[in-house]
Structures are given as C-alpha cells and as structure tokens.
C-alpha cells in the first residue's frame, strides 16, 4: 500500500485528537459511531419485542418488562437515532463541503452538541440500567405524572438534553448556510441536500423548544404535583398531548426531510441527469417544513378534542401530502432520458421511494377522520410510521452512507454485498411491516404484549421478517468495516458525480479545499451523452 495523502483522517490519530477536534468531518464520524451504537441498542429492544409477539400468550417476559422494552425502543430510536442520524452525520460531513466552506460557522459549538448528545444518552442508558421507564415514548399524562412508578424524570431529562443538541445543530447549520457559501453559490444553486438541511434546521430550532417546555412541565408536575395536567386539580390531560404533538409531528419531518435530500442526490447521480423540477423540489421542502407545524391534531381525533378541530386538522393533513407527492413524481420523472446505473445507492433510493409512498399514502387513511377512528392506536399506525421512518429514513440514511462512503473514507466497498444487503433490506422490511397493516385494519391494538389468537399468523410473519431485516442491518457493518482495510482506493470522484464535495480529494484534506472553489453553474450539471 502506498502512502495516503494528508487528509482529515491522518491529522493526529490519538483518541484525544478526536475527542477535542473542531473539524466538522471528524465530528461527523464521532456522531456516526455514537448513533450506530444507539441504533443497535434500540434494535436489540426491537428484536425482543418481535420475539415476544411471535406467540400470542406473552410468555417471554413480564408485562412490565415488555412495556419498558417498547418504551426504550421508541425513546432511543426517535431521539437518539432518527432525529440526529442524517443531519448530524451526513449533514455535518457534507454541508460545508457542498457549499465550498472550510467548516461550519461554529466549530466548537458543533463539538459541544456532540457532548450534549452523549450526555443525554448517558441519562437514558442509566435510566435503563436502573430499571427503565414504562410510559411509552409519548409520555402521556396523567400516567407519566401520577401513576408510573418508574424513572420517568430521568428519561425525560435525557430527552431534554438531547433536544438541546439538536437545537444547537440547527442553529449552526442555518448560520453556516447563510454566511459561508463560497463565491457564486447562490441560493438556487444549492444542492437539494443542503436545502433539506436548511429546512430541517428551521424545524429543529422552532419545534424543539416546545418539547423542552413540555417535558419540563411534565417533570415539574411529577415532582411537585401542581395541577398542570392533573384533572383532579383542575389541570387538563389533553393539554400535554397538544404540546407533545406540536413538537412531535414536526419531528417526523425532521426525520423525513433529510431523507428526501439524500435521495434526491442519489437519484440524480445514478441517473446522470439534472433533477427534474429543481425549484419545485425546493418549494416542497419549504412547504413541508411550514405546513408540518399545522397538523398535530391528527394524532388526537379520538382523544376528546372537538369535532370541528378534527375537521380542520384532517384537511390540513391532506394538504401536506401535496408536497410529498411532488417529490415522488419528480424523482420518477428524473429517470426519463437518463443514463441509469443501479449501484447500491440507487437501489436504496428506489427502495426509499417505494416505502415512502406506501407510508405516505397510508397516512391519508389516518388523516381521514372516519377511518382513523378504526385504525388509530392499532398496528396500522405502527406499520404506517415504520414505513416512513424505518423504511424511509433508514433506507435513505444507508443509501447516503454508501454513496458518500468513498468520500468519507477514501475506499470502495464490495458492490455485490452492498446490493445484496439493500435488496434483502427491502424484502425483509416489507415482510416485517406489511402484515402489521392487516393486523391493524382488523383491530389489533398497539402496545399489547399478548393478543387474541386470531392475530397470530400475521404476527409470526412479522417476526420472521424481522430476522431478515436484522441480518440486512448487520451486513453493512461487516463489509463496510472490511472496506476500510481492504477496499480499493476511491479517488476524488468514483461515481462521476457532480457537486463541490466531489472536487476535492477523498478523504478530503483538513480544510476541505486547497483553495476556495468558485461556482459558475447550477447544481447537477451533467452533460448528456
């Protein structure tokens, strides 16, 4: 092996040099390691849940253990994986590169955010070690404030802290995009991934404080017993749900906007064609970010809110489907007259589009009040949000990791294994979650650790699918690590892709570019053959 060029990876190899780095690329790696750890922690909980549900009787663990397991799964997956995954790893790594900057606007703050993330994680893990929490990731009152005997406050503090990590990341990205674009990089020359980071940062900054406030109120009520949510003191238990979903619905867009950005990049590069309708793609990102704040009430159709409120939330939920539909149509149209190669990133991207569409369309069933009555709080909802978040966001995240892997590490992975894993993931995913739509439509409630026998077949299928899915998540860990040592050297632009990040070395030098690049054209300037 020949000597590697100096890169951000060779700049000091001690642990301390990593833990005190201000380089956005190294911080991205720190996040990737921590987030992967939490993903597998949440994944173990998921495996336990599916194992328990493989039989109807609740014979593997006690009801309490089960309740703590699905709570842990939810808390970890939502706050320690889905929300930070793409923004904090790919976003941190790529955002400055894509706009031709040397780093993010506040490098120290960036490192501080990572430590906050770890601190939050520490609380959550401690909470688990002390016996866990059994409220569900939604922490509904008055169960969480008056009735649960578990470590609610500890769990909530963990989430509160990780929330600040996401607020600071959002702030950092917004200032970076506003102030550090290189010469010639106008707003409408930004790659869609950068736009999606912009949209998601806005949502993070505006929505997360509401979560912080809500969790503080919950902790105060639990510790002091003042009547905020407690009806016997004149409080309102629904108030919590309004606050909670005012954050948590926008939060689902924190999970999905970055995926849309990633997939746009993967598709256009694999098709070697400009993305179809670039401006519409930008407007739809902004549209989703804004309207995402107006639909929280669709989680509460049967919670006891007024009939008229539900009607308004229902129509708004139908409206927010429009920008998502625009995305799907434009991705499809981008294929037209393209020169398409089906590498692993493209397979992940196409898989994303399929799963996202099914997840989105089933959202319409839930948005239709009369149908939601039957479907809400059943496995239909579980299937719906897993299609969007696990099918959608995880597929996009892995697709992105594969696409930019050569840039991040300087090495190529085994294409055959990668394609195999991507296809296995798609199949395993559908086998796991499609049966849950059927179980839900037939009335199986969610958060049950035992269930009537008539749902057994569908649950067995689902548990079998989970085995395939688990294998497909473990595979990339294997072949990607393998590539670090044995993979071919990638060169600056192994895919022939466009974008500033491909114009510098792989892995990039510590300050990204030899000299600041100058942009003279819009993104995706592929020449047609």
């Amino acid at each position: 092996m020949h000597r590697a060029e100096p890169s951000y990876l060779t700049e000091g190899s001690t642990l301390a040099s990593w833990l005190t780095t201000h380089d956005h690329k190294r911080i991205a790696i720190l996040y990737a390691v921590a987030i992967t750890f939490f993903f597998f922690l949440g994944g173990i909980a998921a495996a336990l849940i599916r194992l328990e549900l493989a039989t109807p009787h609740g014979d593997l663990m006690s009801a309490d253990t089960y309740n703590k397991t699905f709570t842990f799964h939810g808390v970890v997956m939502v706050w320690f994986f889905l929300i930070p995954s793409i923004p904090n790893t790919l976003g941190n790594f790529l955002l400055p590169l894509m706009i031709g900057a040397r780093d993010v606007a506040f490098p120290r703050l960036n490192l501080f955010s990572w430590y906050l993330y770890l601190l939050g994680g520490l609380f959550t893990v401690t909470c688990l070690l002390l016996g866990g929490v059994d409220t569900g990731w939604t922490f509904y009152t008055p169960f969480s404030t008056l009735f649960s005997n578990t470590h609610v406050v500890l769990a909530v503090v963990g989430v509160f802290i990780v929330g600040f990590s996401s607020i600071l990341t959002g702030l950092n990205f917004i200032v970076t995009i506003h102030t550090l674009r290189t010469k010639g990089m106008t707003w409408f020359r930004l790659p869609l991934f950068v736009w999606s980071m912009y949209g998601v940062s806005l949502v993070m900054m505006l929505a997360t404080p509401v979560l912080a406030m809500t969790l503080s109120l919950l902790a105060i009520e639990r510790l002091t017993g003042v009547g905020i949510f407690d009806p016997s003191l004149g409080g309102d238990p629904l108030l919590f749900q309004h606050f909670f979903w005012f954050y948590s619905h926008p939060a689902v867009y924190i999970m999905v906007l970055p995926s849309m950005g990633v997939v746009s990049e993967l598709i256009t590069a694999s098709v070697r064609r400009k993305i179809f309708g670039y401006r519409f793609m930008v407007y739809s990102i902004i549209g989703i970010a804004v309207v995402g704040f107006l639909v929280w009430g669709h989680h509460m159709f049967v919670a006891g809110q007024s009939m008229y409120a539900s009607i308004v939330f229902s129509i708004l939920s139908f409206i927010i489907a429009v920008p998502s539909a625009i995305k799907v149509f434009n991705w499809t149209a981008t294929l037209y007259k393209g020169d398409i190669t089906f590498g692993a990133p493209m397979i992940y991207a196409l898989g994303f589009v399929g799963l996202f569409m099914l997840g989105g369309l089933t959202g319409l069933f839930l948005a239709a009040t009369a149908l939601d009555v039957n479907l809400t709080d059943t496995y239909f909802v579980v299937a719906h949000f897993h299609y969007i978040m696990v099918g959608g966001a995880v597929m996009a995240y892995l697709g992105g990791i594969h696409f930019w892997w050569p840039k991040i590490t300087g090495r190529l992975y085994s294409e055959g294994w990668a394609r195999f894993a991507a296809i296995l993931m798609f199949l395993g995913f559908n086998l796991t979650f499609f049966p849950q739509f059927l179980a839900g439509a037939e009335g199986m409630p969610r958060r049950y650790y035992r269930y009537p026998d008539e749902y057994a077949l569908l649950n067995v299928l689902s548990s079998a699918g989970a085995v395939l899915l688990a294998a497909s998540y473990l595979l990339p860990v294997g072949y990607l690590l393998w590539s670090l040592r044995f993979g071919e050297r990638a060169g600056p632009d192994p895919w022939g892709a466009k974008g500033l990040e491909w114009e510098t070395a792989s892995p990039p030098p510590p300050h990204n570019f030899e000299r600041p690049p100058v942009v003279t054209d819009g993104p995706y300037a592929y020449v047609h053959p």
């Binding site: 649960s148 064609r273 149509f329 020169d339 196409l350 149908l371 039957n374 709080d377 037939e442 409630p445």
Partner: protein, 312 residues
C-alpha cells in the same frame, strides 16, 4: 378488512370508504411504479436510446399530476367528514349506558341499574350511547367489529354511539396505553336480539341507576343542603340538567354532564351566581361510578319540577 365482522350500522359505510381510498391509492401507486420500471429498463446504462435534449420541463405537467390526484383525495376527505359528523352525533333516542374505565377493568352501568364488569350486553337495532369517564389514567374503549373507538379521560366525559346489527360476541379492547395490564384490559360486547336482551335486563335488574343515585344523594349528604327545607343557602337542583347557569364570575355555562361532575369534585371552580362557595369537594371521597348514579338521578329530578334557572 376481511377478517373483521361488520356488526354495527357504521361498519359497512366505513368499509366502503376504506375500499374507495384503497382503490385510489393502489391506482396512484401502480401508476408511479409502472412508470418507474419502464423508465428504469428503457434508460438503463448501456442501452442505445435517445437521451438527447432537455427533458420536458413545464409547469403544466407539475400542476396536472399534482392537482388531479389531490382533487380526488379531497373528495375522499369530504366523504370522510360526512361520515365522521354522523359518528359524532348520537340520535336523541339513544339509550345511555355509563362506562367507567380503571386500571385495569371496565365497569358498565345500564339505566335500569344493571352493572357489569368487562362485558357489555346490548340489543340489535337500537342506538346506544356510551358516556365514559376514567378513574385514573387515559384509557380507550375500542370495539373493532363496530368500528368505534374513543379515548376515556379522567375528570371528563367523552362519548361514542353505535347501533349494533348482528347478534354475536365481539372483542372489546383498551386501545390507549394505560400501564402494566393494558393488554389485559379487554372484554367482550354481547349483542343480543331485542327479546333476548329484554330477558337479560329483567334477570339482572336491581333497581334503576337513578334510584341508586337518589339513595346516594342522601347518603353523601347532598340532600342536607340542596333539598327543600334546608337552611343552607344552596341552589335547588330540580330541572338543573340542561339549563343555563349564570356563574359568580359572570360567565354562563350549560349544566351538562361535565358541569355536574365538576361541581361535585371541584365545587370551587364554577360557583353559581348568588351563592357562597361553601360546598365541600367530594374529590377522593366518591368514585366515578357513584357520580354517574348521581347524574342519572339529577337528570330524572330535572323533569320532575320547574327549573330554578332559565329553562333551555
């Protein structure tokens, strides 16, 4: 929803809407999917096809393919809202059954005084309205075969209604996570023919709910202040239910189930105009099932004499 029986008057209508939306979604999915496959095959790398020129790029296409499906979906929305309003509007002649949810059981009280745990008997063909409250956390009463579901909140009444159509025994679930035995908090709804139901009611009669309320009214000491002849300056309760009550702070409220409930548990919150806030709170001294019996009694009492406040 093949495996689910259609056992209420809503079930068929909801399944119809479900199938319509499903059909629409399948069409949209197929259209996108087929187009993708065709493009993917035709334009894959290495094939000798015309790739020249800018691909067609106009506002017209974007508008058409967005607005037409959207219009269809808005049609579904309108249909759904129409059905939803019916589902939220109980008919006037519906029979009221009171429900209390607690960790982890269901308690049902029929107007005739019959009480049941975890099983609910109803007759076909007659609308039933469930008025529900919780003694502790949020629960949710769900009967998939009827396609109904409603959260049940502590300190508040929520309701749902249905007309059962098919005799049989159907699953009853708690659908809102409520702690350790959430998944055991179930039971069944037994739907009987009207004749069989009448026999069941007769066999389990034990004095009507309102009757029990009358006894409780005295036992809890309500009568001491509120009955005629009391020396305490307290509002008379005849005809109160359904009337408009002016409050001491200038607001006006309708004396519905919520108001009556809160007046017992949190009497200081809404004091009727002209009275001192001297009523003690019954919070923690009375359980929800007893409050429901009192409400049933107050409702009957309402029809017995003239209202003290402006009539409805």
């Amino acid at each position: 929803m093949s495996g689910l029986p259609e056992a209420s008057s809503f079930a068929g209508r909801i399944d119809g809407l479900f199938l319509a939306l499903l059909a629409l979604c399948v069409v949209v999915m197929l259209a996108v999917f087929v187009t993708m496959v065709v493009f993917a095959v035709r334009f894959r790398h290495g094939r000798d096809v015309d790739r020249s020129g800018e691909s067609h790029r106009d506002l017209g296409i974007e508008m058409t393919w967005t607005l037409i499906p959207f219009a269809l979906f808005v049609g579904i929305f309108a249909w759904s809202i129409h059905l939803w309003i019916d589902m939220r509007t109980p008919p006037a002649d519906a029979e009221t059954i009171y429900v209390v949810g607690k960790q982890w059981m269901w308690e049902f009280q029929h107007p005739g005084g019959q009480r049941e745990i975890d099983t609910l008997h109803v007759a076909t063909g007659h609308p039933v309205r469930l008025v529900m409250t919780s003694q502790d956390v949020i629960h949710d009463l769900s009967v998939p075969a009827f396609r109904v579901k409603q959260d049940i909140l502590p300190g508040r009444y929520t309701d749902l209604w249905f007309t059962a159509t098919r005799p049989g025994t159907y699953d009853l679930f708690c659908a809102e996570y409520c702690g350790t035995d959430h998944s055991r908090m179930g039971g069944s709804v037994v739907v009987e023919t009207p004749a069989a139901h009448a026999r069941w009611l007769a066999a389990h009669a034990s004095g009507s709910l309102a009757e029990r309320g009358r006894t409780l009214f005295t036992r809890y000491g309500c009568a001491g202040c509120h009955d005629a002849g009391s020396s305490v300056h307290a509002p008379r309760l005849e005809g109160l239910y359904g009337s408009t009550v002016p409050l001491a702070d200038g607001r006006q409220v309708t004396a519905d189930e919520r108001y009556l409930h809160d007046s017992i548990v949190l009497p200081a919150e809404e004091v009727a105009a002209g009275y001192a806030p001297i009523m003690p709170s019954y919070k923690d001294r009375i359980d929800e099932a007893d409050i429901l019996a009192l409400l049933a009694y107050l409702k009957i009492r309402g029809t017995e004499r003239e209202s003290p406040h402006a009539p409805r």
